[in-house]
Structures are given as C-alpha cells and as structure tokens.
Symmetry: C2
Subunit: 132 residues, 2 copies
C-alpha cells in the first residue's frame, strides 16, 4: 500500500504520515522506486495514533502505544508504559476539568448567571401510608 492509500484509509494526509515517520512513530518499507510501502499493521498503528490524538494525547505520548503494538500486542494499551501514560493523561484531564469548572463559575458570576447546576436532589417525604 502506498502513502496515498494509507492516508485515505486512515483519514490522514500523506503529509501527516511523513511527519509521523520523522518522529519515528511510523516505519515504511521502500519499493525499488523509492516509494513508501505500508501494510495492514501500519494501518493499525496510524489508527492507534489518531484515536489517541483525538483524545488529547500529544504525538510523543502515543509512542509507548505504538511500540506496544509493534511488539506484537493485540492493543497498544496492554503494556505498562502505555498504561502509565494513560493514567497520567487521565489525571491531567481531571485537573483541566476542575480548572475549567472554576473558570466557568467565575465567568457566569461576572455575567450574573447562576453557577453550573451540579446536583439537583429533591427529597420528598414519603407517604406514611405506604409504611403502615
């Protein structure tokens, strides 16, 4: 498979694929004429990269996942390194969430809007009849 087809199938531009290669995330065989040649494994790698990037990972952060995949594992997340990165990312996202929540409330406050509704709990006293 040449770079154009891989790009089409993975939903990324050839330019991006060359970029991944520059970073050492993607390795290409070469044909006699110098063209890059990819296989289905490479498609899986690119798919892994994209799904992680879509979740907010930096390209560098996808490296352990890619290496995990290339080491023969079924998923890129089944190695200790990748799981560690994943946990770090979760913590980062949680930090962002609390920060953004603070910002949101501050903004709403400046506009005179009510703060984010977090929990509405309406407690209704039960009908005593039911317990007779």
């Amino acid at each position: 498979m040449r770079i154009g087809e891989l790009g089409r199938r993975a939903g990324v531009s050839p330019r991006a694929l060359r970029h991944y290669e520059e970073l050492g995330l993607l390795a290409a065989r070469r044909r006699a004429n110098g063209y890059r040649d990819y296989d289905e494994g490479d498609l899986r790698v690119v798919a892994e990269i994209r799904s992680l990037v879509d979740l907010g990972f930096a390209l560098e952060e996808t490296r352990p996942f890619v290496e995990c995949l290339r080491a023969g594992n079924a998923t890129g997340a089944s190695c200790p390194d990748s799981r560690a990165v994943q946990r770090r990312k979760l913590a980062e996202v949680d930090e962002w969430l609390t920060r953004l929540q603070t910002v949101r409330d501050e903004l709403a406050d400046r506009l005179g809007d009510p703060p984010t509704p977090r929990c509405f709990i309406t407690v209704v006293a039960p009908d005593p009849e039911e317990f007779r």
Copy 2:
C-alpha cells in the same frame, strides 16, 4: 511610571507590556528621552487584560474590555461588546467542559476505572416507626 514599575505592579514583564502595545491594547505617552510613561489608568488596563487572560481569553478578545475601560467606564465588562465576548467565552468553556468530560470517561473506561462520579444519592428507606 516607567515600564519596569508598571510591570512590577501588574505582575507582567516589560516585554509583555511592549507586546500589548504592539497589539494596540496599551498606549503609552513618551517622555522627552523616549521612555514610555504610564499612569494609573494604564495599570487598570493591564490588570483587566491579565485577569481576562487568566480566565482563558486570548489577547485579541480582551480588546473590547480595554476599549470599554478607556471609554471611561468603571469596569471593562460594562459595554455590550465585551459582554458579548464574555457570553461567547462562557459558551466555549461549556463546550470544552462537555468534550473533556467525554474524553475523561473514555479514558477511564480504557483503564477499567469507573466513570466520573456525578451524583451520589443514597436513598435510605425511612424508619416506619417514625411515621407511626
């Protein structure tokens, strides 16, 4: 007040202040020797810029607030333009929050963690004795 003092009082570098000036957010009188000269109004402008930027506004987005302040208003948020920007920003932040929440859950899911606890409601059946 020269640029160094304004920077110290506002908590920003002189370099940043010159940058704000390049963007037309900050205007400086000049002394005979060419030095920039600022007053208390300029300090208020810089404070406004900083507080907005800390809330996630881009420098360009602070422009209406700055102009509002310079138009003689007590606060930068009391003009229609700035309030519009502020509302847009609130909407953006809300979008981010929902997106990030989705990402968080996806991440936690991949790790086998439980999703974000949103509301814990423990309903305890009341003691029927109380209703006797």
